[in-house]
C-alpha cells in the first residue's frame, strides 16, 4: 500500500517535463507496534481489487491475517485533485499492542520552477489545527527545524511556491510534528516530514477517513478542499488577504474567462481597479489643485513670518480654514490606494495563472524578465537587467516629476520622492516581471488620469469658489479638532517663550 507516483497532468515543470509531486523521493507509511516489534504497513503485501463507478474508481487493498482484516480504500474521482482514503478495521486493532497508529510522510520537494533560490524561499511544511491555528516552518531557515503540534490537527502539507501535497484528516489527527531541512541537491528544493497519530478510537470504529491533495495553489481550487486550505497561498498579512480574496482574485478570474493573454488581462485589471479608485484620485486631485491656487498666499505668509515656523503654521491653518479645505484630504485618498498596490505585491508572485505565461520579451510572467545577462553580479541588483523594472522605475520618476509641478511639497520629501524609484530598481529587479509590469501600467494609467482631470478641472473656477468660501467662512465656527490644535500650538509657543526668558 502506498503511492508510488503522482503526476499532475495539466501542468509541467519549468523545462516542460511531467510534473511529479510524489515520486521515489517520497514515502508514506502507517506503523504500529506488535509484540514489541515495529510493523510498517509499507512492508506488507496487500491484495488489490479495483471497483469502477460512474464518476469514480475505488482501489481496495486488503490484508487478512487469520481472520483479522485490514482494508485500505482509495477513491479517485474523474475530476479534482483530491484522493479520498479510508481505513477499515475488522478485528485488526487487536494486533496493535500500544493502541497507537502512527502516520508518517517524508518527502523531498522536487525542483519544478526555474529559480531554485526563489523556490527554496517559498517552500515549507505547514499545518492547520482543528481549532483553526495554523503555522509553518520558517521558509528562509538554513538548518533542520521541527515544529511539534500539541493539539488535534486538521491537515499537514508540503507547500511549494505553486504546488501543494497534503494529507487532510476528516476527523483530525491527535497531534503531530512537522520538520523541514535544506537540501544540497540542486534538484531538490527542500526536504521535510509530516508525522502524526491517527486517533485509535476512530480507527477501531472505522472512522479513519482522510484525503490526499496533490495540486496547484490556485485559490478557487484550494478553497474548496477544506477549511483553512487557502492558507497554502501567501496572500499577505492582516487585511490584505481580504482585498485579494474579494477584489483582486474575482476580477482576475472573471477576465480569465474571456482571454488567454495574461499581459492583456493585467492591463484590463489595472483599468478596472483605477476606475474603482477614480473617485478617490479625483478628490485628491481637486484638493491638490486648491493647494496650488493658494500657493501665492502661502508664500506670502511664509515671508511675513520669516523664521518663525510656528506662527507661519498657525496662519496657514487659518487660511485653510477660511478657504474651506482640509489639508489632510490630499493625502488620505492616496493612502487608501496603497493597500491595493501592496496586496498585488503578494498576489502576483503567487498567482499560478501567470506561471510560464509569456508576454512580449518576458518568457515567464511569474519570474523576472531579462534583456541582458551581465557577466558579474551587482550587489542587491543581480546579474541580469529586467526591462519591465527599468520601465517601472522610469515611469515612476516621470510621474513624480509631472506631479511635483502641481504639489507644494518641498525640502527632504522632494528628494525622497526621487530616491524611491531608484530603490525600486534594485528591489524589483529579481521580482516577477508580472509585478513590475503591473506597476508600470498603473503609472501609465495614472498619468492619463491626471491629464484628463487637468483638462476638465478649471482652476479659475476653483479660485472663485474658494474666494466665496472665504467670505462665507469668516464667521464660521472652528471645528473642535482645529480649535484644539490651535490651542496646543499656542500653549507650545508660550512655553517656549518662557524657556527663552529663563535662559
Amino acid at each position: 500500500m502506498d503511492f508510488k507516483n503522482v503526476e499532475i497532468k495539466n501542468y509541467t515543470t519549468y523545462d516542460s517535463l511531467p510534473l511529479h509531486l510524489f515520486n521515489e523521493n517520497h514515502a508514506i507509511d502507517i506503523y504500529f507496534e506488535h509484540l514489541s516489534k515495529s510493523i510498517s504497513l509499507k512492508d506488507l503485501i496487500f491484495e488489490s481489487e479495483l471497483i469502477k463507478y460512474s464518476d469514480s474508481t475505488e482501489l481496495v487493498y486488503s490484508l487478512d491475517l487469520n481472520g483479522k482484516r485490514l482494508r485500505q480504500i482509495y477513491t479517485l474521482y474523474d475530476q479534482g485533485f483530491v484522493i479520498n482514503y479510508r481505513i477499515e478495521n475488522d478485528g485488526f486493532d487487536e494486533l496493535i499492542d500500544t493502541k497507537n497508529l502512527n502516520f508518517y510522510w517524508e518527502g523531498k520537494m522536487p525542483k519544478i520552477e526555474r529559480e531554485l533560490l526563489d523556490a527554496r524561499q517559498r517552500a515549507t511544511t505547514r499545518y492547520y489545527s482543528i481549532s483553526g491555528n495554523t503555522d509553518y516552518i520558517s521558509k528562509t531557515s538554513t538548518e533542520y527545524e521541527e515544529m511539534p503540534i500539541d493539539e488535534p490537527v486538521k491537515w499537514l502539507a508540503f507547500n511549494q511556491k505553486f504546488f501543494t501535497a497534503s494529507v487532510i484528516a476528516e476527523n483530525g489527527f491527535s497531534k503531530g510534528l512537522i520538520t523541514l531541512a535544506p537540501s544540497i541537491d540542486d534538484q531538490i528544493v527542500k526536504q521535510g516530514a509530516l508525522s502524526s497519530e491517527i486517533p485509535f478510537t476512530d480507527f477501531v470504529n472505522n472512522q479513519a477517513r482522510f484525503k490526499f491533495f496533490f495540486g496547484p495553489n490556485k485559490y478557487s481550487i484550494l478553497n474548496e478542499v477544506t477549511e483553512g486550505f487557502s492558507q497554502n497561498i501567501e496572500l499577505g498579512w492582516v487585511f490584505l488577504p481580504f482585498i485579494n480574496k474579494y477584489l483582486i482574485i474575482p476580477i482576475f478570474n472573471f477576465l480569465e474567462r474571456f482571454m488567454s493573454n495574461y499581459g492583456l488581462i493585467i492591463i484590463i485589471m489595472v483599468l478596472i481597479i483605477r476606475l474603482i479608485l477614480s473617485p478617490l484620485t479625483y478628490k485628491s486631485h481637486i484638493s491638490m489643485a486648491k493647494m496650488r491656487v493658494l500657493k501665492p498666499e502661502l508664500d506670502a505668509i511664509k515671508e511675513k513670518h520669516d523664521g518663525d515656523m510656528q506662527k507661519a503654521q498657525s496662519d496657514q491653518m487659518e487660511l485653510y480654514r477660511k478657504a474651506g479645505i482640509n489639508p489632510l484630504s490630499g493625502c488620505i485618498p492616496v493612502l487608501l490606494q496603497f493597500p491595493i498596490l501592496v496586496s498585488l505585491f503578494y498576489f502576483i508572485p503567487s498567482a499560478i495563472e501567470l506561471r510560464l505565461e509569456s508576454f512580449l520579451w518576458a518568457d515567464d510572467l511569474s519570474s523576472y524578465d531579462s534583456i541582458l545577462s551581465l557577466p558579474f553580479n551587482i550587489p542587491f541588483y543581480g546579474d541580469h537587467v529586467s526591462l519591465f523594472t527599468l520601465l517601472m522605475a522610469g515611469s515612476t520618476i516621470l510621474y513624480t516629476m509631472a506631479n511635483s509641478q502641481m504639489t507644494t511639497i518641498q525640502g527632504p520629501m522632494k528628494t525622497m520622492q526621487y530616491l524611491m524609484p531608484i530603490m525600486f530598481l534594485f528591489f524589483f529587479n529579481s521580482y516577477p516581471s508580472g509585478l513590475s509590469y503591473y506597476y508600470f501600467i498603473t503609472n501609465l494609467v495614472s498619468f492619463g488620469q491626471i491629464a484628463l482631470f487637468r483638462k476638465f478641472v478649471n482652476e479659475d473656477k476653483i479660485k472663485l469658489i474658494m474666494e466665496e468660501n472665504k467670505k462665507k467662512n469668516v464667521n464660521k465656527k472652528k471645528s473642535k479638532f482645529q480649535t484644539r490644535l490651535e490651542d496646543a500650538m499656542k500653549a507650545n509657543q508660550t512655553a517656549q517663550k518662557n524657556k527663552g526668558k529663563k535662559k
Binding site: L63, L95, T179, I184
Partner: protein
C-alpha cells in the same frame, strides 16, 4: 535634504555594496553537509523499513533463512512480507496516480 546629506547617503550605499561584494561571510555549506540531524530526518524511515540481511549473520540466502529472519523481524506478520509487488496506475482528468501493493523504497 541638502547636498551633504545626499553625498553621505550615497557613500554609505557604496560602502555597503563594497562590503557585501568582497567581505560578506561565505554561506555555511559545509555545515549543512555535516549536520547529522539532517541525515537523521531523511533516513529515519529507511532505517525503520530496512529489511536487508545483516551482514554478520551466516550468509545463506536460501528461502528458509530469509523466512527465519522475517519471522524474527516481523513475527506474526512474516507471512505477508514475501510476495510479488503489484503496481496499478489510475488516470483521472487531472491526476495520474501509481499505486503499489508494497512499499518500493
Amino acid at each position: 535634504m541638502d547636498k551633504n546629506n545626499i553625498i553621505g547617503l550615497t557613500l554609505m550605499m557604496v560602502m555597503l555594496a563594497v562590503y557585501f561584494q568582497f567581505f560578506s561571510p561565505e554561506p555555511p555549506v559545509s555545515e549543512i553537509i555535516d549536520n547529522p540531524v539532517v541525515d537523521n530526518s531523511s533516513s529515519k524511515l529507511s532505517e525503520k523499513v530496512n529489511n536487508e540481511v545483516p551482514s554478520d549473520l551466516p550468509l545463506d540466502p536460501s528461502d528458509s533463512t530469509l523466512n527465519q529472519l522475517n519471522k524474527l523481524k516481523y513475527g506474526f506478520f512474516a507471512s505477508k512480507i514475501a510476495g510479488e509487488e503489484s503496481i496499478i496506475s489510475l488516470t483521472t482528468e487531472e491526476l495520474e496516480v501509481t499505486f503499489t501493493s508494497k512499499g518500493g523504497l
